[in-house]
Amino acid sequence: MPAVQETVEQVRRIDVDQYKYGFETKIESEKAPKGLSEDTIRFISAKKNEPEWMLAWRLEAYKRWLTMREPTWARVNYPKIDYQDYYYYSAPKRTSLKSLDEVDPEILRTYEKLGIPLREQEILAGVERGDGTRSRVAVDAVFDSVSVATTFKEELKKAGVIFMPISEAVREHPELVKKYLGSVVPTSDNFFATLNSAVFSDGSFVYVPEGVRCPMELSTYFRINEKNTGQFERTLIIADKGAYVSYLEGCTAPMRDENQLHAAVVELVALDDAEIKYSTVQNWYPGDAQGKGGIFNFVTKRGDCRGARSKISWTQVETGSAITWKYPSCILRGDNSRGEFYSIAISNGHQQVDSGTKMLHLGKNTVSRIISKGIAAGQSNNTYRGLVSAHRKAKGARNFTNCDSLLIGNKCGAHTVPYIEAKNSSATFEHEATTSKISEDMLFYCRQRGMSAEEATALVVNGFVKDVLQQLPMEFAVEAQKLISISLEGSVG
């Protein structure tokens, strides 16, 4: 059988069901009544003991949402979502805990299975690195609609860093939340962000005070467990003047026939000379071989380089979800601020990815850099959609964009849709794009040297994504590399 034909056959047999994280945690949960109404929102707000202003904020967003329409411009197809058919709040029965000892052991086991041993995290204080230094990661674990545990809280507190579930921050640091929540992604921003503003459940809140370099990596691990449940996390990270923080999020879900809904909002604020590095390893359940089930992932992520010389960097490794609609962006407001977007988006089976970034240059001499690597296999569609714009006053704005797509097999598609707008003549924008196929010649060359088809593909793909993998914190680069080979298993003959 000719190789190309063989590849096609293999791709047809692709078993997306090899999703490793597809188990379900049997646990009692408390849910809001199904569907969405003012009552649902009041229920959520009451569950979280929110102050009146927070409830009012939510209700206003809800009113706004009722007048909005779901966007249709992305290159994704999915059945109409019945928003009344979801649960908007689900929490494990025993919550509001003082220490890890009070967390349901079933939940701790879940995170352990996922490779995130919360308990050991605290006891061992991190893993040893090659050079003998200890690197540590503080974890906030979000299970369905609530945060179940946050590690290293005390130690971070000593450094002045606030890292807690946003539901707690609303009560404990209302002045900060009021000041920054919705200041980057307004409640009226877009259909999914507005929905999130009305019903957001939990997520992380980070505040790094002036001049502080956060002493460890911060990480949030999201898990959707409950059936028919939407997860609407809200994350808000503020780096005050001269502060630095590196933050990582990971996400998984059980395998289900129905589509679960995930509509998150992430807001980042960097003041003068501050730097935020935000990394995502997204591995939501992608659906089965027939394209049944999987997470609908509609996410609004935006960073505001509000201060001069501030820097925000997004790095993402996207391998999961049935539908991905996601454009982590930077508003380059401060003069000499810098925005970066490094992305690896992998689609296999019937996955549809429409992802990219927006770099909005408002300040003088602002710089942005976009490196996007899309890999499409199976019958998937993978679109890069990006906007780079320079405002009239953004003198000397500079952007460099590089979008590469790699196709594996011949039933998949890669699409690149760049929008470039320069409203002043001193802006310099560069755009490079390539689309290539893993050629039979390349595979044969590797195999002639002794590598199996799978080893050869992994080597070629890792070479393709190398520039982006290097941007990930070291602790996660290896994990991401493994994830990439798992996602592509069975995609070549």
Binding site: E6, S439, Q448, R449, G450, E455, L459, G463
Partner: protein, 251 residues
């Protein structure tokens, strides 16, 4: 029994017959040159030996050390000692030459049930070999064949051969695109690898290469089969008379 025995090999590519009952024996430790005009099937023979897809064997067999290798995948053949120095070495962007070599060597060793090389052992092996071929450390860090000159690509092929230590090395037009200085370096690299344990099939269009890699035997191919065999003088005779004399014999 010869180390490599090709018996009555018939091969089609996209329904076009390229090899027409080719028969060839190469002894252990022998360097056999294969010459012939363009389109005589020399490169096809190289690819079929290495197991490239889309080359359909309709008749005949290829025995390596008495075992038929035609049903084996390319990587299985590689682990059994088959190496092909490509006429057009392929670029692998983003993969450092060092990483590529190491992945290849360890993959072969794994298939053969041998232990993987340790990093220091491997680094030393590659460095020593690379130095002989005038390959710098910087070149080993660069992505495989990306931005390499023609000469660098061919030297890289010989480096891989030296590291992988095959028992059957097939060199497909290794001289093409090389100036005389580059040709000498490559030829020296090949000569250093001559061994009673290693057979070589040196495919070339021109006699020039054989001044530097002196073959034990010369086979002439035309229209998909071997039409004449002889000693190294046969190459000189071809250089003088050209390939035209074989046009009728093969018909």
């Amino acid at each position: 029994m010869s180390f490599l025995e090709v018996k009555n090999l018939h091969v089609e590519v996209e329904d076009k017959k390229i090899l027409n009952g080719l028969t060839l024996s190469v002894e252990k430790g022998q360097v056999a040159a294969i010459m012939g005009p363009n389109g005589s099937g020399k490169s096809t023979l190289a690819y079929v030996l290495a197991g490239k897809d889309n080359y359909k064997v309709t008749e005949g067999e290829v025995l390596l050390n008495g075992k038929n290798i035609l049903d084996m995948a390319p990587d299985e053949r590689a682990a059994k000692g088959v190496f092909l120095a490509f006429q057009y070495p392929v670029e692998v962007p983003g993969v450092a030459t060092m990483t590529f070599l190491r992945t290849a060597l360890n993959a072969q060793r794994k298939t053969r049930g041998e232990a993987e090389f340790s990093t220091p052992e491997f680094m030393k092996l590659v460095r020593d070999t690379a130095a002989h071929l005038g390959i710098s450390q910087e070149m080993l860090r660069r992505a495989v064949n990306v931005g390499f000159s023609g000469g660098e690509k061919k030297r890289n092929e010989i480096l891989q051969m030296a590291v992988l230590q095959p028992t059957l090395a097939v060199l497909d037009e290794t001289d093409s695109g090389l100036d005389i200085d580059a040709l000498k370096i490559v030829a020296e690299g090949v000569n250093r690898l001559r061994s009673p344990e290693r057979s070589m099939v040196v495919i070339t269009h021109y006699q020039r290469l054989l001044n530097f890699i002196v073959p034990d035997v010369v086979h002439v191919m035309a229209k998909g089969k071997v039409v004449k065999s002889g000693g190294k003088d046969l190459a000189l005779e071809l250089e003088a008379k050209g390939y035209a004399q074989f046009a009728d014999e093969a018909a």
